[in-house]
């Protein structure tokens, strides 16, 4: 969806995308703490639109058009010739800015939706075995953050009990050192505990495994470049899709080769079944419609405010976007069979908002 949003500038299509995303989230989200992030992203999007319009009004390029109102023009020295402050404001430029802002806001909304539907921990669980060590490190770090907050609290209290200042620079220094000490202590205990519980057991790193790890890393890099290409059709003539494909293949090879040798097993892995495929496919369908439409030059995909006109609504693209509604019904229901009641979100719904990104990196 995010990719689709990047590829269009038609405000009506953008609004439609936003509605679809919000609808799916509303249908599928859980009560977990991260579920509230959509609202945050929504507000962020509104702010983005506002900023974009204000910037355009104040600093915007003065293109000819229907003048809305005029701001006093601030004279600038000659070296700042490219920049103008104030001057006449046209309907076209404001509209263009608003649409640009809207585009950015919709992209943000899509990521917000991804966030509110997926638990970071469950995403980590989906990491392939090759990257297991990295995954554990991230998990430990994620649990660490709240503990540091707790440690900060106790240290603050302790300083107050000792009659020392808790504010200001002296207070900060006195806080940081014990907290860091505590953090180091904890990490030592944690390391001992992990060791005693078999972490890193019988770890042999044969050559092919190292090659596999290297291949996955390279693949990941290529995937990232490819995604960039896919998102920004202007930067790469080939559109980045081939690089994405090569990267994905490399990543897949690396992961299967590396994963096969690992003696470690996974507890209750998340199932990947028909509904999950459905979600991914519907995401791809949306993306596909837009890519095809872009290549074929369907009118209405791009919208410019010059000259001023009402945007037309391309039927094909509307249908394409509406396919994105399917996950609301398709996605595995929270707490349904095969799903752990723990975080009753559908992590599988996650690929949909940015199908091009996550779908491939899996």
């Amino acid at each position: 969806m995010a990719v689709a949003a990047v590829r269009t500038t038609n405000p009506m299509l953008l609004v439609l995308i936003a509605v679809v995303v919000v609808f799916v989230v509303a249908a599928r989200r859980s009560s977990a703490p991260w579920s509230r992030s959509l609202a945050v992203f929504f507000r962020l999007g509104l702010i983005v639109i506002a900023i974009r319009v204000v910037v355009e009004v104040v600093f915007g390029l003065r293109l000819p058009g229907n003048v809305l109102f005029a701001l006093p023009r601030v004279p600038l020295p000659a070296w700042a010739a490219g920049v103008s402050i104030g001057g006449p404001v046209t309907v076209e430029s404001v509209l263009q800015a608003a649409v640009d802002g809207l585009r950015l806001a919709v992209i943000l909304l899509c990521f917000g939706a991804a966030n509110s539907l997926a638990s970071p921990y469950r995403l980590l669980r989906c990491l392939p075995t090759v990257l297991y060590e990295a995954g554990v490190a991230v998990t430990v770090a994620l649990t660490f953050a709240p503990e540091v907050v707790i440690a900060l609290g106790t240290t603050r209290d302790a300083r107050r009990l000792r009659g020392r200042p808790t504010r200001g620079i002296a207070g900060l220094r006195g806080l940081a050192i014990p907290v860091l000490e505590g953090a180091l202590d904890r990490s030592l205990q944690l390391a001992a505990s992990m060791d005693a519980r078999g972490y890193g057991r019988r770890f042999v790193a044969p050559t092919h495994r190292r090659v596999a790890t290297g291949a996955s890393a390279l693949g990941l890099l290529l995937v990232m470049v490819g995604v960039f290409g896919a998102l920004d059709p202007g930067s790469m003539p080939a559109g980045g899709i081939p690089i994405l494909a090569v990267g994905s293949v490399l990543l897949a090879i690396g992961m299967t080769a590396g994963g096969r040798r690992s003696p470690r097993t996974r507890y209750r892995p998340d199932m990947w079944r028909l509904p999950e495929w459905g979600v991914v496919l519907s995401g791809c369908a949306v993306l596909g419609t837009f890519v095809v439409a872009g290549v074929a030059g369907v009118p209405g995909l791009q919208f410019t405010a010059y000259p001023l006109h009402a945007p037309i609504l391309p039927v094909v693209l509307c249908i394409g976007i509406l396919v994105g509604l399917l996950p609301a019904a398709l996605a595995p229901s929270p707490g349904g069979p095969g799903h752990r009641g723990l975080d009753p979100t559908s992590v599988e719904a996650e690929p949909r908002p940015s199908a091009g990104v996550t779908g491939a990196s899996r």
Partner: protein, 541 residues
């Protein structure tokens, strides 16, 4: 199962070996209790079983430790993970994941257990430890007792043959501790697991133990034997054993049940002497309490930690606050110490609100020793710490050092506070708090990790403080401590005062909080061995 052959171990920074020529065999399915004073080498002995000593701690170990034929010399702890499960004092520091179920599965994932077997074992463990209702909970939101059970479960799922526990119940309230111990006994009897456990509060564990290993410390030979034999001569003994020594019971009873069956004659001798007990009524109506909480409520978000509490503390009184884990004890102390302000109501100490005072004035009014005394200390040596307190509180140089000598003589001045034993560290923290001479002294779980000699000293010190006119409040799970030191006991539950009265009455009438002596001699209300001893000698005279 576990075999120590001529094991000598010394930490790299010490020239005295902690363990010297230890020969020890622990058989399959034994419940072994390791006792000893703090710093005697109990934890070292336990750590040597799964190889954390010396693989993780450093130091030099000679001789051999073999577990089921595997030597810790060739097998680092991770290679013994399927054989030995290790549970530490502080479970929250050992959690790797964030959710109960994942934590239980973690060790199995490392061991490469197949998913179906993993699933089955997790379910079994959840049932065995009664954790099934918590399976999806975040580990950070669990209470201490729950966390400890999860930590035990997390090593159990790897189906080890040996379970090693270092003071597993020290942070738990009496009920939660019973729960953990009952679980362990069940494992020994039903599964035939070998359990090695170190514990200070012997009264909780001795009845369950098959064998007791006494670590005398300073490298002397271990004393190993059946609980009755070792307890008869052990320097550390639960009250029930001391009572038995006093009454001359033979063999020494270890459980309340055994003791009650033998206590008939003693009870008859003591009948009628109860009048000689210290007055159970509170010291007469003192006009002005030192500190008072008036209809105090405190909330964390939507959770009410305290709900309209009324509490007055007089000078010269030791008040014990008891209650389950999470019943609001620490919150109440925090309010009294001015760490936070009440959501509703008022706290007054000597007419001032502690929450409004700047830190420098606050420490002259009230001092709190938190649960983990180490957080109070941050200088790099004991001497520095003392000087820092003198300087910052504007005391005469040497005040803190002399306070420390009064609390506990002989704390090495050049040591880092982290290297002190638990008892020494508590003494230092107490000295730091007591040096500015606040009239109100608060202690949160002061006996955590303390051995019996340190506890005796603490009891004497608290009585002295009360006699000097301080008001002392302690929040604790340790019923034996309450029996010995408190004038008044307040029981909290769900943020409300359930009972408030003379310690003798409150404690004796609760099945959970009654000390062992009271249980043995019920229905009469004797609390401690010392009282019984005093009454007996008086009656003979």
């Amino acid at each position: 199962m576990i075999r120590f052959t001529d094991v000598t171990f010394a930490y790299s920074d010490s020239d005295q070996p902690t363990l010297r020529h230890v020969d020890l065999t622990i058989g399959e399915g034994e419940f072994c209790l390791v006792v000893g004073t703090t710093g005697s080498g109990k934890s070292t002995l336990l750590g040597a079983i799964n190889g954390l000593v010396p693989h993780f701690t450093g130091g030099h170990l000679s001789g051999a430790v073999t577990i089921d034929g595997r030597s810790t010399r060739d097998h680092p702890p991770r290679e013994l993970a399927d054989l030995v499960g290790m549970v530490g004092q502080n479970p929250s520091a050992t959690f790797v994941t964030d959710v109960v179920e994942d934590e239980l599965a973690y060790a199995m994932e490392n061991l490469g257990v197949t998913p179906t077997a993993m699933r089955r074992r997790v379910e079994d463990t959840l049932d065995l430890l009664g954790l099934h209702e918590l399976r999806h909970r975040s580990l950070l939101t669990l209470s201490g007792g729950q966390q400890q059970r999860v930590a035990i479960g997390a090593v159990l799922t790897a189906s080890p043959r040996v379970l090693v526990l270092d003071e597993p119940t020290s942070a738990l309230d009496p009920a939660a501790a019973e729960e953990v111990l009952a679980t362990l006994t069940r494992l020994v009897h039903d599964v035939g697991m070998t359990v090695v456990i170190a514990e200070h509060r012997l009264e909780r564990v001795v009845p369950f133990a098959d064998r007791v290993i006494l670590v005398p410390g300073s490298g002397e030979d271990l004393i190993v034997g059946r609980p009755q034999e070792v307890m008869a001569e052990s320097p550390v003994a639960p009250p029930i054993v001391e009572l038995a020594r006093l009454a001359g019971w033979e063999p020494i009873p270890l459980s309340v049940r055994d003791a009650r069956r033998m206590a008939g004659p003693l009870r008859r001798r003591l009948a009628g002497l109860e009048a000689g007990l210290p007055a159970s009524s509170l010291p007469g109506a003192m006009p002005e309490p030192l500190a008072a909480a008036e209809r105090v409520s405190s909330a964390y978000g939507s959770v009410m930690a305290l709900n309209r509490i009324d509490l007055g503390i007089r000078r010269g009184e030791v008040v014990a606050i008891m209650g389950r884990n999470g019943s609001g004890k620490s919150t109440l102390l925090g309010l009294l110490a001015g760490l936070r302000k009440p959501t509703k109501g008022r706290v007054k100490i000597d007419g001032q609100e502690p929450g409004d005072l700047p830190p420098r004035k606050l420490i002259k009014l009230v001092g709190l020793v938190p649960q983990d005394a180490a957080v109070l200390l941050y200088c790099s040596s004991v001497a520095d710490e003392c000087e820092a307190v003198d300087r910052e509180s504007g005391l005469l140089p040497g005040t803190t050092a002399s306070t420390l000598d009064r609390v506990l003589p002989g704390v090495p001045r050049h040591h880092h506070p982290r290297d002190l034993s638990e008892g020494q560290r508590l003494a230092l923290a107490l000295a730091v708090i007591l040096a500015p001479a606040p009239p109100l002294v608060l202690l949160d779980e002061p006996t955590r990790g303390l051995d019996y000699p340190s506890k005796d000293r603490l009891v004497r010190l608290l009585r002295e403080l009360a006699a000097d006119g301080h008001g002392v409040v302690l929040a604790t799970h340790d019923v034996e401590l309450v029996a010995r030191v408190a004038d008044r006991a307040v029981v909290l539950a769900e943020g409300e005062v359930v009972s408030d009265g003379a310690a003798r009455e409150v404690v004796c009438h609760s099945p959970v909080f009654a000390p062992q002596v009271a249980k043995v001699l019920a229905p009469e209300t004797w609390l401690t061995v010392d009282e019984v001893r005093a009454a007996l000698t008086a009656s003979v005279r």
